[in-house]
Symmetry: C2
Subunit: 146 residues, 2 copies
DNA sequence: GATTATTATTAGAATAATTCTTGATCTCAT
DNA sequence: ATGAGATCAAGAATTATTCTAATAATAATC
């Protein structure tokens, strides 16, 4: 654990949003003015491989990093871009709602959500109801089903 | 629906794997030798926005495309790179195993899995049992939990 | 059927996130 | 101190994807 790794890690621990590598870079520069973006990438990589940090990808947007190691999903707001941690409901095993083929070895499971965060749902206004999404067979109805 | 869009779409309908844009490009060139990669990207985009096709991202790997519109998760084999469709178990609402904050509007839910496909689990051998992954509170135990 | 307007296609340049390369620097056991 | 090994910095390189501008196809109107 080098100085730069520690500072990068501390930055993530302090952050509640889910910063990108550049976000972290800008933040970390205050403490370590000489650090380079490449080093931040290296540190984030090392921390990720060491299991101290999770890398969060959605679509092809820049990766975000998160020091919350509890199992959780990520909700990405399409309007303000914020990323929220969404805990899994206690007691419900997520993997049991999947028909995994026999014989696979499952190492990692990732759940990403898209939509509007509470604030943006309100801001977007309209007569939509603010409770739950429309119910489809399993999760939600994709408007444009064939 | 232009000629190139149709050919791109047909290619996806025929494919059982989950081709990347370049994969599609190479395949489509047989029918439309003059087509450009940019057009393939455009077509895939149009089809995705039109809801005929799903774009599948995992980590920072190239996007893959899939014409299976049924709700399903994607299993990515870390060894051979294959991507398998994993249907959701009938009757179990996935979104109900998430503690979504009040007031969010959920538009899209994506589940990605990583591990070894059946063939690669066998090939990787070792004394591992081939049935189910180790059980953790919710989905699976990340070896490196803090 | 000709003419205009719209939209899609192409080829290649541009972009942006990330990774690689190289030499300099640090750490630590000896 | 000294040397071995890892890490860092800077910038170049890579790669998936998007943009741009010009051409071509399609559709709509006369």
């Amino acid at each position: 654990m080098t100085r730069q790794r520690r500072v990068v890690f501390d930055t993530l621990l302090r952050s509640t949003d889910h910063p990108t590598a550049s976000d972290v870079f800008m933040e970390v520069k205050e403490a370590l003015p000489g650090i380079s973006l490449a080093t931040v990438y290296n540190c984030l990589d090392t921390l990720t491989h060491g299991g101290m940090v999770k890398q969060v990808c959605m679509d092809r947007e820049p990766s975000r990093y998160c020091a919350n190691l509890r199992d959780h999903a990520h909700f990405h707001c399409s309007r303000c871009g914020k990323v929220l941690d969404v805990p899994f409901s206690a007691g419900k095993a997520l993997s049991s709602s999947l028909d995994l083929p026999e014989g696979v070895r499952l190492d990692r499971l990732e759940v990403s959500l898209r939509g509007l965060c509470p604030a943006c749902t309100v801001a977007a206004g309209s007569g939509t109801d603010f409770s739950r999404p429309p119910q489809a067979p399993n999760l939600l109805s994709e408007a444009h089903q064939s």
